[in-house]
């Protein structure tokens, strides 16, 4: 039999249920892999080994009793370190929160607990989820499991790399402009940003509140569907969460895709796209066509302005949200301040890294007197125009399909001094945040250098089931998601 950490949760569920294996054996298999390979990847900020072992023993007892348990009971899961776990350090990979211990659990963590999943560790990220490469972490740079010289993408660098490296079968991340989908694409796994309001953000450290959404990472759409059913749902503690019933997403997979229509925006297809990414996308679309779907090139003009909108709107919201880090109530506090104003300025100046500081400055600028109309309000208007375009497109087409990122993974250091080049790696993903639409990235090929390529499927509001169904069907026909980084095969 394959090593346990190389199996899917679908296979593991059967083995746990019939007691061929125990949760503790499963956990040890992951821990052994982490022990051996984490130094190469640097996906974690902390590993909750003791807590996880205790929890695994408790869940084994439940399995032994023979009571029916939720599908993902006993599965380890790793969590982006901007989602609060009670009594654990929540650093957001920032020096300003280096020693912050969360006094409470995020709603998604309560839901994981209720479903008997096992939080196994806190994963690395770009500081405060701001970045597209993982290089903005104040603590370490996570490497792409497919080639350690390359970035895993960001901001969920650790969550994506951990699943790709089989450190855990599942992980949670947050997505403000592509932070789940872009690293999922660059690491060759599935990453889903649900509809705005689908998942409670209570306990997620806020970056841009009109865009942030928590979502799952997994190897397959089927596993992501299981995890989405666990974390989705209305929460009175998040006023933006929607009172929409949660279906059993995994149960509803396997629907016919014949006759479904796909629109492919030319703005992400004809220019600025890496030739190997385009080739993989066309191949994927043709494969889906053979199953009875159709695709055609459409125009969604506002997509071209995604990064410009982001640089105004997301940064403005960040400047506002991050005002709470003031060196007084929690977090880093400068020791040499002589008055209150100095305390704020020094604590924030010494506590925040370069990218976060850049965004706070630009966000403050675009909200400041004399500039708000030309910048912030213009970006808000551009979003309304984009919403109209997407709304019209989704009346004609069931899905909008794009490359998840215009290029495959790039080298560590390659874009760090060119902010625009870095921001452009989220060009294809940001529109789903502005429009609130659900979007999933799935592996759809590899470059000649063996780097993964991702395809993004965007659907209508609350139609996660439909995009996951198309993703699942595609994975039934392909084997990209079953391939493993070289170092795992050497094991």
């Amino acid at each position: 039999m394959k090593k346990l950490h190389l199996l899917t949760t679908i296979e593991l569920n059967k083995l746990l249920k019939n007691r061929t294996i125990t949760c503790q054996q499963l956990l040890h298999s992951y821990l052994e892999n982490i022990n051996k390979n984490e130094p190469k990847i640097d996906a974690f900020l902390e590993i909750y080994k003791e807590n996880a072992l205790t929890k695994a023993a408790q869940i084994d007892k439940l399995y032994d009793k023979g009571d029916p348990l939720p599908f993902l009971a006993g599965m380890p899961i790793v969590i982006k370190n901007n989602i609060c776990l009670k009594n654990k350090k929540i650093t957001c990979a920032s020096k300003i929160l280096e020693n912050f211990v969360s006094p409470y659990d995020a709603t998604v963590i309560n839901k994981l607990e209720k479903n008997h999943l096992i939080p196994l560790g806190a994963t690395n990220l770009d500081e405060f989820a701001m970045g597209s490469s993982g290089e903005n972490s104040a603590f370490k740079i996570t490497k792409n499991p497919w080639d350690f010289d390359y970035v895993p993408g960001g901001s969920c660098s650790g969550s994506a790399a951990a699943v790709a490296a089989h450190f855990a079968p599942l992980s949670l991340g947050s997505d403000t402009g592509g932070s789940i989908r872009q690293p999922a694409a660059l690491c060759g796994i599935v990453g889903l940003k649900p509809t705005y309001g689908r998942v409670s953000r209570f306990g997620l450290v806020a970056f841009a509140s009109s865009l942030d959404q928590i979502g799952p990472f997994a190897k397959t759409a089927q596993e992501a569907a299981h995890l989405l059913s666990v974390i989705a749902g209305h929460d009175a503690q998040d006023s933006t969460s929607a009172p929409v019933p949660v279906p059993d997403y995994a149960q509803n997979l396997g629907q016919d895709i014949k006759g479904l229509k796909i629109g492919v925006p030319k703005e992400l297809f004809e220019t600025g796209i890496h030739p190997e990414v385009k080739e993989a996308l066309v191949k994927a679309l043709e494969l889906l066509k053979k199953q009875g779907t159709s695709w055609e090139i459409i125009s969604l003009n506002t997509i071209k302005y995604s990064v410009a909108i982001y640089s105004i709107l997301a940064f403005a919201e960040a400047a506002s949200n991050l005002a709470r880090f003031d060196g007084i109530r929690y977090g880093f506090s400068a020791k040499d301040a002589e008055n209150l104003d100095e305390l704020y300025k020094k604590s924030r100046g010494q506590g925040f890294g370069d990218e976060v500081t850049t965004r706070i400055i630009l966000g403050t600028f675009s909200l400041s007197s004399g500039y708000i109309d030309d910048y912030y309000l213009k970006a808000k208007k551009a979003i309304l125009l984009m919403k109209k375009e997407f709304h019209e497109a989704l009346k004609k087409y069931d899905f909008i399909v794009t490359p998840t990122s215009p290029t495959p993974a790039f080298k560590i250091g390659e874009k760090i001094n060119d902010p625009i080049a870095m921001y452009l790696s989220d060009l294809a993903t940001e529109s789903a945040n502005y429009t609130g639409l659900p979007a999933v990235s799935i592996p759809c090929g590899f470059t000649k250098n063996n780097l993964p390529i991702g395809m993004q499927i965007i659907g209508n509001h609350f139609e996660e089931g439909k995009i996951l169904n198309l993703a699942d069907r595609f994975q039934q026909l392909t084997d990209y998601h079953t391939k493993m980084p070289e170092f795992l095969e050497e094991n």
Binding site: P103, N339, L340, I361, T364, A382
Partner: protein
């Protein structure tokens, strides 16, 4: 929009953030590059877009006006994260200057 030059010292003062003198050139360069890029938005015709028209499909998320405390967190847990705590208060330097 006409591209202005960001007055770094003024904006840092508004944002309550101190940056080192030796880093100012780097920030100015990056901020200028981003501001130049966002001028792209001028290509869009946004005059007819009315920000006042809102989608009212969802009712406002109002809860019943009852006193409730969703966070049942002990004060002792909260103050563990406080950089300086004294006599049941967060301790800060004086507004004009430290009077200790």
């Amino acid at each position: 929009m006409t591209k202005p030059k960001i007055d770094l010292d003024h904006i840092c003062d508004l944002a309550k953030i101190e940056i080192k003198d030796q880093d100012k050139k780097k920030y100015q360069k990056n901020l200028d590059a981003i501001l130049t890029y966002v001028q792209k938005l001028d290509e869009l015709d946004l005059d007819s877009i009315d920000l006042e028209t809102k989608n009212n499909s969802l009712s406002p998320p109002l809860r019943i006006d009852e006193n409730s405390s969703p966070l049942k967190t002990e004060l002792s847990t909260i103050i563990k994260n406080a950089p300086a705590w004294q006599d049941n208060h967060f301790k800060v330097p004086g507004i004009i200057g430290d009077i200790d």
